[in-house]
């Protein structure tokens, strides 16, 4: 029978114990373990959900401010100081807007679609390891579960496209289905490399395996290409600009959410930002060492000269806060990157979109896994696996292992790029020639 590893902090049973003593009940926490895990999961999940929603609301304002500053404008600054309450005002406005259901639309599907689109992103918040303890559900197959759920949001989009009885939304829905399918494969492949390294799919373990200074993180030295592929695929999964075909304003009059007004539109709108936040968080968890600080030691550790493991009570709380700080900093780095890309790049055409994924991203991710496999399981002539020579995991190993790894990566990736550019430029040359 699956016995959940007791994944709650030790102070929880002591408090629980004190409460029960008041009522004079003696408790043996061993048989209460699973209840406490569930209790802890619920507490953490609500805490995270609130924190995530607040950050999503902040993200909407951040996007408008960042895009404004990039085009030499001021951005919203009327509602509240520096426009802080702008998103709240938008929310209230959308709340009071009339909620129109178009004639001939399938009422049930029309109302279900936004909920279906929002559901997976809400579930993601439970799986993100914000800090070592602030992880609601430490699923052993966390990574797999994330990508299984993320394909559910596409159903919501296609449903919205079909149910709103509008030709533009139908086109938007079809496009979003095609896009999500073709960009989920590179997404999963990118994470496959990381899972290969840590040996377990539990996201908490993946983050723990990236302990140590920043070159210890997967995305920096070991699998940078996966970071690149994962970031591009998240842009596609979340319909951000280079890939925002499903709701292309200039063509499809904002695609699937053309007919949505009021709170349903707000749900779509917030779900998109929540998905961006969740995907950036996963990006950080998988590739940028989750809540670890870039210079190996936590600031708190440097201040108090104590090891992180022995910290108790308020120091532990301080450590958690610092972990949350590092995690949020990295996540917002990716969110800023997504907004920066939105300000610059134009939209792709449907055929380019598919071509880019099937002809470029997926072959790249396959080759990437091939390289990671070499790194992981190659055996040196002396019979030892390269892994224990890798400077990253065992400090102080010889320089030669560094050279081996870099040579392998260079050869494989260089070959790939030349091959791909020959392939792609032929296509363009052919197109230029026949003009």
């Amino acid at each position: 029978m699956y016995q959940p590893t007791p994944d709650f902090p030790e102070w929880l049973p002591r408090i629980f114990q004190k409460i029960l003593d008041l009522f004079g009940l003696s408790v043996n926490w061993a048989d209460w373990g699973s209840l406490l895990t569930v209790l802890w999961a619920v507490v953490v999940f609500t805490l995270i959900a609130v924190v995530a929603q607040a950050s999503v609301i902040f993200m909407v304002l951040m996007e408008r401010k960042v895009l404004a500053w990039m085009t030499q404008r001021k951005g919203p600054n009327r509602v509240g100081p520096w426009g802080a309450l702008q998103t709240l005002a938008d929310g209230v406005k959308l709340l009071f807007k009339e909620d129109i259901i178009p004639k001939g639309a399938n009422k049930f599907l029309f109302t279900i679609a936004p909920a279906l689109f929002f559901l997976p992103t809400f579930v993601f918040f439970g799986l993100i390891p914000f800090t070592s303890q602030l992880l609601a559900v430490a699923l052993p197959a966390g990574a797999l579960f994330v990508f299984a759920i993320s394909s559910l949001s596409v159903v919501g989009l296609v449903l919205a496209g079909w149910a709103s009885n509008n030709k533009y939304s139908l086109l938007g829905g079809m496009r979003s289905a095609a896009q999500a399918i073709s960009y989920e494969i590179p997404l999963v492949m990118a994470v496959l490399g990381v899972v290969l390294f840590t040996g377990s799919m539990n996201i908490g373990d993946i983050v723990k395996a990236q302990q140590g200074p920043f070159w210890n993180w997967y995305g920096v030295l070991l699998t940078p290409v996966s970071l690149f592929i994962f970031f591009i695929s998240t842009l596609a999964e979340v319909n951000r600009v280079p890939f925002d075909l499903p709701e292309a304003e200039s063509e499809l009059v904002s695609g699937y959410n053309t007919e949505y007004t009021g709170m349903k539109f707000a749900l779509f709108f917030l779900a998109e930002y929540a998905a961006l936040f969740a995907m950036s968080a996963f990006n950080v968890a998988f590739f940028l060492g989750g809540y670890f600080s870039p210079f190996g030691k936590f600031i708190l550790e440097l201040l108090t000269h104590q090891e992180a493991a022995q910290m108790t009570g308020p120091l532990q709380l301080g450590l958690q806060v610092e972990m949350l700080f590092w995690f949020m900093m990295k996540t917002y780095l990716f969110i800023f990157l997504a907004m920066w890309v939105r300000g610059t790049l134009p939209r792709l055409k449907p055929d380019q979109l598919m071509g880019f994924s099937w002809k470029f991203l997926i072959p790249l991710s396959l080759i990437n896994i091939f390289v990671i496999a070499i790194e992981k399981f190659m055996v040196l002539p002396g019979g030892e696996s390269v892994m224990n020579h890798l400077p990253i995991l065992q400090p102080g190993s010889s320089l030669s292992s560094w050279a081996i790894w870099i040579v392998i990566a260079a050869v494989v990736f260089g070959g790939f790029f030349i091959l791909m550019s020959r392939l792609l430029s032929e296509k363009l040359e052919a197109r230029l020639a026949h003009r």
Binding site: Q72, W340, V341, T344, F417, S425, L428, L432
Partner: protein
Amino acid sequence: MSTSPQHHNDFTQNRVLEGLKEIGKGMSTVLSHYFRPPVTLEYPEVMPDLSDRFHGRLCLLTKSDGTDLCIGCQACARVCPCNDLIQIEMHRDAQKKPVIDQFTIDLGRCIFCGNCTEVCPVDCIKFLPDFELSDFSREALVLDKKDLTLSGEESDQWRLVRGMEPLVE
């Protein structure tokens, strides 16, 4: 004889890295704007500085002592593209001097083209750099003589700003 835009063969070399470099260049330009001061104008607090020829609200200038300049010759009414937009009623008093009873301009239909200010023989109807003209009803947009006429000092101020000497006689 013509500078034809650069030729297209420079796309054949390594396109993937070239593409990334170009995207990087474009993004660096966009980011460089991030640190430039905003050029937008915060309207209600900061008023735009308008040129003295700005086609804002129409007004009727007067002499320095406030007597009317308009002689009721209907030139402005006749040259206005919207036909019967300016209505003038006048009569001649004992000394054959024109007295304007009513001078209404319907700002609701006026297109601020400036034809009237050009043909006025006595330079009486002119523009003010005032563009906040919205109102709550169409009737309120019909300005009558009282709203249009500037006082003596205002007229002289108007003329001073545009480098014309005050009209004393």
